[in-house]
């Protein structure tokens, strides 16, 4: 399983764009990159997933350079409710049928009023 490295914590003011970068130097050809968000006392929640280039949904954007050794989660105009821990995961789904992933310690984002 590819290991990921993310900043332990980040602070941002409300209304700003936040970019959280994750390093995954040993990513394998079949690996997808997935980001989850976790609020206190809740389970993680899927945010976005990508394989290469750029993916955008209603919540975030995910930028993946050509070498795929890193990825950046971009949260536009954060609000206080975006204060959470963000996990970058790398893994694939082998033909055996399930995605075994490693969450790591994540990035704790604190949004400041």
């Amino acid at each position: 399983l590819a290991k990921t490295t993310q900043p332990i914590s980040m602070d941002s003011y409300e209304g700003q764009e936040v970019n959280i970068t994750c390093s995954h130097n040993n990513i394998a050809t079949n690996d997808y990159i997935t980001w989850y968000q976790q609020f206190p006392s809740q389970g993680p929640r899927f945010i976005i997933q990508g394989y290469k280039t750029k993916v955008t949904n209603e919540v975030a954007s995910l930028f993946i350079p050509a070498d795929r050794k890193s990825s950046t989660l971009s949260l536009p105009r954060v609000s206080l409710s975006d204060t959470a821990v963000y996990y970058c995961l790398v893994g694939d789904i082998p033909s055996g049928g399930y995605q075994k992933v490693t969450f790591g310690t994540g990035t704790k984002l604190q949004v400041i009023p």
């Binding site: 996990y87 694939d92 789904i93």
Partner: protein, 118 residues
């Protein structure tokens, strides 16, 4: 629709007691995962079920941990003779996906059961 539910939400056990934690996955989800999350850490994989078959139990920390999913829906994680190091949040997740890789694969998590062993 209903998400993944877990019960109880909180459990306090005295050291040496047995506990059983329940997970109700989203109806029709084939895959079910259990994770253990220590304070300040990310979730760590414990075990995986595909329907009623336990395909991977490599993350179970000791033989005191046992999981089952007899009818391919509800799952129970049992911990025998609890120890203080078992104190953690136990998360259950389910997914529709199995088989070949592809985009859109996500796990739906429950709120977790916080176990405190005193």
């Amino acid at each position: 629709g209903a998400g993944v539910s877990q019960s109880p939400r909180y459990k306090v056990a005295k050291r040496g007691q047995d506990v059983a934690l329940r997970c109700d996955p989203i109806s029709g989800h084939v895959s079910l995962f259990w994770y253990q999350q220590a304070l300040g850490q990310g979730p760590e994989f414990l075990t995986y079920f595909q329907n009623e078959a336990q395909l991977d139990k490599s993350g179970l920390p000791s033989d005191r941990f046992f999981a089952e999913r007899p009818e391919g829906s509800v799952s129970t994680l049992k911990i025998q003779r609890t120890q203080q190091e078992d104190s953690a949040v136990y998360l259950c997740a389910s997914s529709t996906r199995t088989g070949a890789a592809g985009p859109g694969y996500e796990q739906y998590f429950g709120p977790g059961t916080r176990l405190t062993v005193t």
